[in-house]
Symmetry: C2
Subunit: 811 residues, 2 copies
């Protein structure tokens, strides 16, 4: 249900998720699909009928009325990729300028401001350090246990290849991998389903302004970290970098609040940061720190956070994000250097160390090749995303129960191990074992002595090491046939794996499969040119990896910087950028990037960058939700209680006491606007029993302080355990000290683009629609705006209105 | 005069620049310093008296009224660094949603949208190419003529050092340099004063929303390009990189409009981009392309544009900026490679090629050294800026006439040459001439045969080459004493030079002086550690250069990326970032960055990132300008004419016809808001004589199309040549098809932070203040908001209100 705007229909109770028949007048259809009945009592709750656009009252006038050409939004049927989930609420980015807030801030001294500023930097420092430490722990665990695992298996294979008992190491491999996969899956499925997937789409949504429940819990962080370690150890086609970003965000959200709900612990510090706005800023930094730690790319991290998350570029915030990234990269470097025995050195840039490329020159003639590879990457990426979408839809329909999800993970794990084993068994790609090869576990299999099986080397290491091998190995190392086979197998496995009920990133699988086909292109060029210096297969593997990742994720600017920072290669920068841009443009012709597709599948009401084009004829009154549930500035407790019980709105406009005494005569008005109050604030006031006996309110000091409001953040009291006597019910709540006296409003005849722009640029949660006399006529929220989309394809625009539904999140 | 908000005082004509006595009630003082009298006629121009905050009318109420604690803004006296110039107007970033606009956009088809999208990319492509070509031309000119100049001088010196006629080459050097400096100065001083300085502060201001007159003219572009070439050839302590950014911006503004006012030429294409909003987006791209071309840093360019310019991060715009940067870097690379004889290669990354550093590892122990160098850089930078400020103030007072400005340039040029010559003559820093030295003109002076004078080498090349030498020369090459002497001389010269009436950048002088003291630190460490591998003087020269530039310009994130891209060195990235951040933090304790100081000196009303802190008690009605000059929707031509003649407001709220018939009774109201119209639009309507005879307006097709409005952009008709008959004067203008029906408004009791946030985030030009009945009570513009500042220093906040003055721009 759209809990922020759901509307009421007089005398008719509609079940949640029941979709109303489309009620279109001049292209304007809007009302939410779930409605509640309100018992009629002595209160100023307004009822209305659904009748399309609100007509203009007598003394209002619409300058566009003659010949207004409104766009027709086609209402889509509820379907997997088009339904917006109504279970998500928005964050409050707007400072809540109530009287209690202003009184507190007027008491602030310059030195308290300075102290707050310094505290912010200190918190950010610790966010960077902790994010890096978590990243290090995961990395070291993965590296050490991987060594044990493959060392153990190698011993058996070497023994069994002569003793003809190869089923033994196969079964062992299967057992060990499935064990880890089982743990990874159980942790996520039974522990914390929100920790599934890469976490990047959810962090994006959070930064966009959606309050994703349980995203930043300590438990989620633990499940994410332990889960991704087990997923990688299970040998699945996953990366650990996406989850790092989520971990960074969770660390930031936790540290900045000075308390943990999971542990039920409150340090009693950092209380001034307990609001959505401050928390968001810290989370932006945490996400950047996560990228910095995962890829050793502090600049890339900042760009990623800004590109994905922030809509308002504030320089001060940018400094802090930058500092956070830097600290994270530093810490990781120091710890990993110490781990590798180089204490005091700064030699390990990031988890994802692809090894430095030497300076690779490239010529103008190679640009068409790069563009061509960008096109291939875009095509493969689009295909990948489409396949993954169909798998996700299938999964959503048929793999519903928890045990089925765990079972699917086990099946995928078995298939992965079997595919690897069959390839090692069947493809006899023997290479001489050079002294310089840094292969940890060279498997001899059926090769001559002094040789090793190159295919086995690809499977018997972490995916990161395989990418490194494809980037840096000498031209002769890999047989094109085995690389091609590996590519096809791996791409298929990665596509199947992404979306399972485990913590898993898509970066590494994308890079690895891209590096595989990129190397094939490079090998082809190398043979064609008979070994020309520029036709370095490693370089083309890098281009292929970038192209593939660009085609799948469609993140360009930050991705280019991340790849440049990760490979330490600037000279190829222009080539990388060109490839990424091509891959994105080609991929966008077919479908959305995988993260956006995830967001759509989960029905998250993410606001796009701009409103649909050509919609200047559509006005706020065409799309707004109404009737609006309003309250008076001093309201009877019983009224507030029943409004809270019977609606799920998150914000209530407050109106002037004597609304019916006015002579304005606008039938559609709900009263003259006086302010806005949130559901959470009403709940706290009820919990604190801040009542007064007189309907004119009390003139004394407001009974509830800002401190109390902060104490409850972000988990507000529920009605369970709240009991009110009959006397209390008939007393009043004076809302005047707590209301936001100047909520943002929009005139009812403002165009959709203008409304959208106002909402998006200021990061609003509620936008009240008013008529010319400043009277409330409707309400616009995130879900109202997120529903109207334009799909531009092949020269036509399809204006669609997404339905609202109740399905859950599974990324 | 504040042409957008100036207020009227009944019966009293005040001269422009006359400052009204402060009229403070409860800390609220605001009214602009220049006022005009309006003859009273038959029109709805409202008069009022200045009486502090507007009292609230009967049925309005202020929820904060009890105990509102407003901050007291101390009114500063008009002084060089505190006066805001009133001659600048704002840009219109808001789409003008009038009926004619909406009708046009509803006629658009999806394919015309696609076409427009593609056109945008094509235009951006050409912006990148042209910017790069201009950069190449300047660079090649500088390199070639420098070779001729110093080759010629070297011949004379080599001859005269034996023949004892050293005054000869000195005089020749003086003559050639002064000749170039003279041309550079005359071009700027007499040709286009807005082309003076680096141009970066002006581009920043433009992107912030200030309409800097003549900034993007073709003539300005020419003067800038030719001027900076001559400045560099004159041997002055200037760089050519800042002007490149300005050139890029000018190219973008010119190309995107498809016409040139300087040439009086109109291609008749790209008409849909003729509005401030589209132009701004292209200029953002152009500035990025300029950085990309100047430094070979496409990512740095994008970051620079975003960090400095854009307040709203739009992903689509970011793609285009990125593309523009990339194209520019590519083009430059191709052309320079061809110029250096490597056709088809991509070997020359940017104009500012500092040469690739080999991989320089650094240890944890060096971090304190980097921080220390950051502190030194911050201190030197702050001192530099302070000195430059005093020089600028002196210059503003005493060097006013054009010839004096030219003379000052000549004097500085003479001092520069003399300083160089004296150093070469006196310091006998002889070094053996190795085969690997890439010094173009080794001057032997009094050295032995086979040796050359190292000091002469520093002066006898472009500053870029000197920086390269300090970065890459072997540890023994430079004598600490001569480097120290060079540093002191050069820093002094750079400080004097920046702000002269020539085109000049500050990047290179800052980098060069920083590299000098950085190398000194490096040499010290090298000797202390007896030549340890990590104590590479070149590395410390780079850190010093970054630190110095960070201390002067205080641009961090983009600067770090630019330096990383320019030096091709990622491994030092973290060290560079740390140094830059330290330098910025230290410098900010003392004064603003040099660009911000420039902006303040020019009195440009740049809006900071956020409103002053702790100002929640200050409300919109405390700071707004009033009385407001309003018009009716259908207004008499004579009224419009006299309003335009007698005020310099740029926007007029339109009110409902029967304002006096209402029973609202707000004394301070100017009528119920119906829309907003701009001065420029009124002028065009008058010019086109779009009159009607009836006071109820005409129902027919609006007589002036959007096409006509675009035709006039951005130079609107003046009243010269406009003649109106008495009949025309008594007819009416129907403004309804052209007005913006939903201008942004703010309630009169909204707080200053909320008002600021709305204005800044949406890039507004006019913000109308309304009371609770949606009636106009005041107006807020850029200058209103830019005047209120808070200076936080040593734990205290100084709330100041800047005066408005009429002085001009000289950067």
């Amino acid at each position: 249900m759209d809990t922020e705007t759901e509307t009421l229909i007089n005398g008719q109770r509609l079940k949640p998720n029941q979709v109303l028949p489309s009620n279109s007048a001049d292209g304007a259809i809007i009302y939410d699909s779930s409605h509640f009945q309100l018992r009629s009592r002595d209160r100023h709750v307004s009822y209305g009928s659904i009748n399309g656009a609100v007509p203009l009252p007598e003394n209002n006038r619409d300058p566009e009325m003659p010949g207004r050409q409104s766009v027709t939004f086609r209402r889509l049927p509820p379907e997997m990729l088009t339904t917006l989930s109504s279970q998500f609420e928005s964050l409050d980015y707007e400072p809540w300028e109530s009287r209690v807030f202003k009184e507190e801030s007027s008491k602030k001294t310059p030195s308290s401001l300075t102290k707050q500023g310094i505290t912010r930097w200190v918190v950010v420092f610790f966010i960077g350090v902790c994010t890096a430490l978590i990243a290090c722990t995961i990395d070291i665990c993965v590296v050490e246990i991987t060594k044990l695992k493959y060392g153990f298996l190698k011993k058996y294979i070497d023994k069994c290849v002569t003793e003809n008992c190869l089923y033994m190491p196969y079964l062992l491999w299967l057992g060990i991998s499935c064990g880890f996969a089982f743990i990874a899956s159980v942790l996520v499925t039974y522990g914390e389903p929100v920790a599934a997937g890469s976490g990047i789409p959810l962090v994006k949504c959070y930064l966009n302004g959606i309050n994703v429940h349980r995203l930043h819990r300590l438990k989620t962080l633990f499940v994410k970290a332990a889960g991704v370690t087990c997923s990688v150890l299970g040998g699945l086609a996953v990366g650990k970098e996406g989850p790092m970003v989520h971990s960074g965000a969770a660390v930031a959200a936790g540290l900045s609040q000075g308390k943990s709900t999971s542990l039920g612990f409150d340090f009693g510090i950092l209380k001034e940061f307990r609001c959505d706005q401050e928390k968001r800023d810290f989370v932006t930094g945490g996400a950047a720190a996560g990228v910095a730690a995962a890829f050793g790319a502090p600049i890339g991290g900042v760009l990623f956070s800004l590109e994905e998350g922030s809509s308002f570029w504030n320089q001060n915030m940018t400094w802090r994000i930058f500092f956070c990234s830097m600290v994270s990269a530093f810490t990781l470097n120091v710890v990993l250097s110490a781990y590798h025995g180089q204490i005091g050195q700064l030699a390990y840039d990031g988890l994802l160390n692809f090894g430095k490329f030497p300076d690779i020159p490239f010529t103008l003639l190679e640009l068409p090749i790069f563009i061509g590879m960008g096109i291939i990457g875009g095509l493969i990426g689009a295909l990948f995303n489409q396949m993954n979408y169909h798998i996700s839809v299938f999964r959503r329909r048929f793999i519903v129960s928890r045990w089925a999800k765990v079972l699917e993970v086990i099946v995928v794990c078995c298939v992965t191990v079997t595919a690897g084993f069959v390839m090692i068994y069947c493809v006899n790609d023997c290479k001489p074992l050079g002294p310089k090869d840094d292969i940890d576990f060279p498997i001899q299999m059926f090769c001559e002595d002094g040789q090793f099986n190159a295919v086995a080397a690809m499977w018997f290491q972490t995916p990161e090491a395989s990418v490194r091998a494809l980037f840096h190995d000498q031209p002769g190392t890999h047989n094109p046939l085995s690389v091609g086979l590996f590519f096809i197998t791996y791409v298929f496995l990665a596509c199947w794996t992404y979306g399972l009920s485990i913590s898993s990133g898509i970066f590494i699988p994308a890079l690895l499969s891209g590096a595989a086909w990129g190397r094939l292109v490079g090998l082809g060029l190398y043979r064609l040119t008979e070994g020309a210096a520029w036709a370095d297969p490693g370089k083309y593997a890098l281009i292929g990896a970038a192209s593939q990742l660009g085609g799948i994720a469609r993140v360009t600017l930050s991705l280019a910087v991340i790849l440049i920072e990760t490979t330490g290669n600037l000279s190829l920068g222009l080539g990388l950028m060109l490839t990424l841009l091509t891959a994105k443009l080609v991929g966008d012709c077919f479908n959305a990037g995988i993260y956006d597709m995830n967001v759509q599948l989960a029905g998250l009401p993410m606001l796009p960058w701009s409103s649909p084009p050509l919609c200047y004829g559509t006005q706020a009154r065409d799309i707004m939700s109404k009737p609006v549930v309003v309250l008076r500035e001093v309201e009877r407790v019983s009224t507030v209680l029943s409004v809270l019980e019977e609606t799920r709105h998150q914000g209530f406009p407050l109106i002037f006491e004597n609304r019916f005494s006015g002579s304005q005569g606008n039938q559609n008005s709900f009263g003259m606007l006086r302010g806005l109050i949130l559901r959470s604030q009403l709940k706290i006031l009820l919990k604190e029993k801040a009542f007064c006996s007189s309907p004119t309110g009390s003139a004394s000091q407001p009974p509830v302080s800002l401190e109390t409001f902060r104490m409850y953040y972000p988990r507000y009291p529920t009605f369970q355990g709240m009991h009110f006597t009959e006397e209390e019910r008939s007393s009043y709540l004076d809302l005047r000290p707590y209301l936001n006296p100047t909520p943002y409003t929009v005139p009812m005849h403002a165009s959709l683009p203008r409304t959208f722009q106002l909402f998006r640029a200021l990061g609003l949660r509620h936008l009240i629609v008013t008529d010319d006399n400043n009277e409330v006529v409707g309400m616009i929220t995130r879900k109202t705006l997120a529903r109207y989309r334009a799909r531009i394809c092949c020269g036509t625009i399809d204006f669609v209105e997404l339905p609202l539904g109740g399905h859950g999140v599974q990324l």
